[in-house]
Symmetry: C2
Subunit: 474 residues, 2 copies
C-alpha cells in the first residue's frame, strides 16, 4: 500500500508578493481552482493509496488543516516540524511514524508546491516505481527534460534495473549532478541520459530508515529521539522540539540517495515544473496570441509576453514586453521577466527592515476563519472578520483597545462581559477596554462582521487569552 | 492693475490613474507640496495683482473652492462653465465679468496645470508684457524652446515691437504653427525665431473683447448673453446655461490670436512644461543617479530611468528600464515610458465600460470634507468619513440602507430622527432605514468616523436631501 508523504515545509520567497513567510507557495492557487497543496493531494486519485501524511512547519499548521478541510480531503496526520531541517529529517519523521504500528508502507514522497500537467503520466510512473520500491530499492523520479534548464539538478542514468516482478522501467543512478551551465545542460538534453531531479521519491519506510541509519546515523538518531514521545493535538503530530532542533540539516539527496547503492531512477514525463519563479509560472500558463497571461482585472494595450496577476484592483498596462506585474492588497511587484530571481533581493530587504509585507498578507488566516485590515488611522483600525460556521475565537480581553462589532452577514453569538447576546445582520455591540469577550458563529453560513478598534495601542499582541479551542492558550 | 484669470477647466486623462474626470490634473500635487492650481496662484506673489478669477467646470467647483480655502489664497470669484467650450469663450466670460463694473484690468490668462520652475523669469516676462498690453496689444507668451519638442505648437516671431513706454521686449507674431515633425522642430530650435505656444496671455479685457467681437462675433454674442444675468451662489458665478451651451467651441488662438493684427509675442524662459504625460513629468523631476524618480513607498533593485508614484501601498520594482508605475487606491498603471500617450486608450476603454476608475478616485472630495470606501461586500459597505471643522453634511434620508457611525477622532453633532446627540471618540450611533439624519462637526479639529452601511442597495444616489448648506437641494 502506498502512503503519500506530502512535504509542505517550504517558505519560499521567490513568488513574493503572492507568497509570504506565513502563506508560502504551497498554499497559493496559481493555476486551476485549487491550491498547490490541494492539487498535490487530489492528483493522487489515480493511485491506490492511504490518506496522505503532511509534514509542515508548526507555523503553517492551521493553513494545512484548513486546506484539507475545505476540500474534504482526508489526511492521516499532519507532522509539525518545530524548525526546518531540510528533507532527510522530514522524511525520517514520516517513515518512523509510518512504521510505529508495525506496518511498512511504500512512502510516496511529494513536494506540495510542484505543478504536474499530465496526471495520468504521473500515476503511471508511480505504478512502475512501486515494483522497484517493493523490491527494496529507493526510487527517485527523474523528469524527462524538455529544455536545457540551468535551474535544476540532473540525474544521470546507468544500466536498466529489473525489479523482482520482472519490470524493467528503472535505471541505476550513475550520478547526481548539480545545476549545470547552459552548454552543459544542452549536452545533457541531447544525450537522452539525463533527467531533472524532481525531489519526488518512492521507497519502503523500512528501506529508507535502514539506509539513513547506515549513511547518516546522526539524523536517524535525532529523528528517532524526536519521535519517541509525540504529542497529539487534534490532527497534529508534535515531535520533541529539543531533539529535532539537534538534528543535522541535510537533504535526502546528500544524506541518502547519493550514498546508497540501492538508488533507482524511474523516468516521469508529465509536464512538471517546480514553479520556482514568476517567469517559470508564465512558462507553464496558457497564453493569449501576444504571449500574455492575465489573471484578475487587467486592461492591456500593445503589450506582449507579460504576466499580470491582479488580486484586488484594476491593473492597466501599456506597451510592456517581458514584464511581470503582481498586485496584492498591500504590495505590488513590477519586474523584468528575465530578472525575477532578484525578487529575493526585495524580500531580503523587507525582512531586514522587519516589514510586515515580508511575513503576512493584509488578509490573515486563523483557525476560526480570517481577518482583513481594511483601514487604519492614528488611534483606530478597521477589520473585516470572517468566522466559519461553528467556529469560535478565543475568549479574550484587551488592555489598550475598545472594539465595536457590526454584523454585516450571518449570525454572531457574542459573550460581552457577563452577557451573552445573539446578533444578526445590521446589529452591533460595543466591547469596552478590559472586558472579557468571545465571538462565535453558531450558524450554517459564514459570519462577517466589521470591527472598529479604538485605542492608543492596536497591535495584535495586546490580547489576553482565557480559553481557546485551537490550543493557543499556554 | 493685473487681474489673473486662471483657467482650470481641464479634465485631461493623460495622467490617469492619478487624474480622474472629477479630479483632474490641476488639482494634483505632482511636484512640491501644493497642487498645480495652488501653485499657479502662489506663483503670482512676485507680481502686483488683484485676487485671481478662476474659470472651471461646474462639477469641479468644490475642489477649486477648497484648494483656495486650504491655503488661505483669496480669489475674486469662481466662474462656472455649465459645459466646456474651449478657451475663447472661457476668457470672454472672465473679460465680461471684469468690465461689468466699468473697470478695464489687464487680464493675465494662465492655465492651472502647467509647471514653471523659474518663477522670477515668469514674473519678469509678465512685467515686460504689461507695457505692450497697456498699449492695446494682445500678448501671447512664447516659451524659449530647450528641445525639438513635437508635442507643442510653435509661434514664429517677426520684427521687434515697441510699446508705448518705449520698451522693446516683444515681437510681431509672424505665424502660429501646428505641432511639427521632429526634423521641422529641429530647424525651429536652431533658427532661434520660434517659441513654444504656452497658452498664457496678457491683454486688457476691453482689447480682448473688441478683437473677439470683430473676429468671432458668434462667441462674443453667446458669452454676452450668458453673462447678462448671472446667478451668484457663495463665491461661484453661474452663467446662463442655455446661452453658453449655444456658444461655438473654439480656442483663443483660432478665434482671436491668429486673426488679430494686434498680436505680440513676449518670450519667456522659465523652465516651463505643460506636463502633458507621465514621461513629461519624469522629464522635469529631479532624478537619482540611475535616472529614477520615486514617490512614496518604493523599493527598487537594478532599475533605471523609471518613474514610480506609490500613493497607497508598497511598490517594488526589479530590473525595469524606461517604465512608469503609478499606484492609486483602486487602479494601477504600468506603462513603457515611450508609450505613455496610449494611456488615453485605457481611459477611453474605462469610459466606454462606464467604470468608476475613469471618473472618480476611491477617495472622493465633498464640500464638507471627503469619504473613502475602504471595504464593501454583498450587502454592506464601509466608509471612512472626514468632516472639516464647522462643516455639515446635508440633512438626508436613505430608502435602502441603514448606517452605523463610529467616531474614531474628533466630535460629531448628530441628528438622528428627533434626537440630537453629541458623539466623541469611541462612541457610536445607529441610523435605521428611512430615518432623517444629519452629521456636523462642531469642533476645531477634523472629525473622522467609520460608517458601516447595510442594505440591499448601496448606491450614492439613494439619498433624499432635505436641507443643504452647499446648495445641493434643488
Amino acid at each position: 500500500m502506498i502512503l503519500p508523504v506530502i512535504m509542505a515545509g517550504g517558505s519560499g520567497s521567490r513568488l513574493w508578493p503572492l507568497s509570504r513567510q506565513l502563506f508560502p507557495k504551497q498554499f497559493l492557487t496559481l493555476t486551476g481552482e485549487h491550491s498547490m497543496l490541494q492539487t498535490t493531494a487530489l492528483r493522487l486519485s489515480g493511485i491506490e493509496h492511504q490518506a496522505p501524511v503532511v509534514i509542515c512547519n508548526e507555523e503553517h499548521r492551521f493553513s494545512v488543516a484548513e486546506q484539507f478541510r475545505a476540500n474534504n480531503i482526508k489526511n492521516s496526520g499532519i507532522i509539525l516540524e518545530p524548525v526546518g531541517r531540510n528533507t532527510a529529517p522530514a522524511i525520517a519523521l514520516a517513515a518512523l511514524n509510518a512504521v510505529k504500528g508495525g506496518e511498512d508502507p511504500l512512502l510516496l514522497v511529494l513536494a506540495a508546491d510542484h505543478v504536474i500537467k499530465d496526471e495520468a503520466a504521473f500515476c503511471a510512473s508511480v505504478e512502475k516505481a512501486a515494483a522497484h520500491a517493493a523490491s527494496g530499492k529507493l526510487v527517485t523520479f527523474g523528469i524527462v527534460p524538455t529544455a536545457p534548464e540551468t535551474g535544476y539538478g540532473y540525474i544521470k542514468r546507468g544500466d536498466t534495473v529489473t525489479a523482482n516482478n520482472g519490470a524493467e522501467s528503472g535505471f541505476v543512478v550513475n550520478e547526481f549532478v548539480e545545476k549545470p551551465d547552459l552548454a552543459t545542460a544542452e549536452k545533457y538534453l541531447a544525450s537522452g541520459e539525463f533527467y531533472w531531479n524532481s525531489g519526488m521519491f518512492l521507497f519502503k519506510a523500512s528501506s529508507y530508515l535502514a539506509e539513513l541509519k547506515s549513511h547518516s546515523p546522526d539524523i536517524y538518531a535525532a529523528c528517532e529521539k524526536a519521535m519517541a514521545e509525540i504529542h497529539p493535538d487534534q490532527d497534529f503530530i508534535r515531535v520533541d522540539k529539543e531533539a529535532f532542533e539537534a538534528c543535522p540539516d541535510d537533504s535526502v539527496d546528500y544524506a541518502v540517495m547519493e550514498k546508497t547503492s540501492s538508488a533507482v531512477v524511474v523516468p516521469m514525463d508529465c509536464g512538471w515544473s517546480d514553479v520556482g519563479s514568476w517567469s517559470a509560472l508564465w512558462d507553464i500558463e496558457d497564453k493569449d496570441s501576444d504571449g500574455n497571461v492575465f489573471k484578475g482585472d487587467v486592461l492591456s494595450t500593445n503589450s506582449k509576453n507579460t504576466y499580470v496577476n491582479a488580486q484586488e484592483k484594476l491593473v492597466a498596462i501599456v506597451g510592456l514586453d517581458d514584464v511581470v506585474v503582481v498586485e496584492t492588497k498591500d504590495a505590488i511587484l513590477v519586474a523584468k521577466k528575465s530578472q525575477v530571481q532578484d525578487v529575493k533581493t526585495i524580500v531580503n530587504q523587507l525582512k531586514a527592515e522587519e516589514r510586515p509585507e515580508f511575513q503576512i498578507h493584509r488578509e490573515v488566516y486563523r483557525p476560526w476563519g480570517k481577518y482583513d485590515s481594511v483601514d487604519n488611522g492614528e488611534r483606530f483600525q478597521v477589520k473585516r472578520i470572517t468566522v466559519k460556521p461553528g467556529a469560535k475565537l478565543s475568549v479574550q480581553m484587551h488592555h489598550h483597545r475598545a472594539e465595536h462589532w457590526i454584523v454585516v452577514s450571518g449570525t454572531a453569538l457574542v459573550q460581552n462581559g457577563d452577557k451573552e447576546i445573539l446578533l444578526t445582520e445590521n446589529q452591533s455591540t460595543y466591547i469596552p477596554i478590559g472586558v472579557v469577550h468571545a465571538l462565535e458563529n453558531p450558524g450554517k453560513l459564514d459570519l462577517e462582521l466589521i470591527e472598529v478598534q479604538s485605542g492608543s495601542y492596536l497591535g495584535e499582541d495586546d490580547i489576553v487569552r482565557f480559553e481557546d479551542r485551537y490550543g493557543r492558550v499556554k
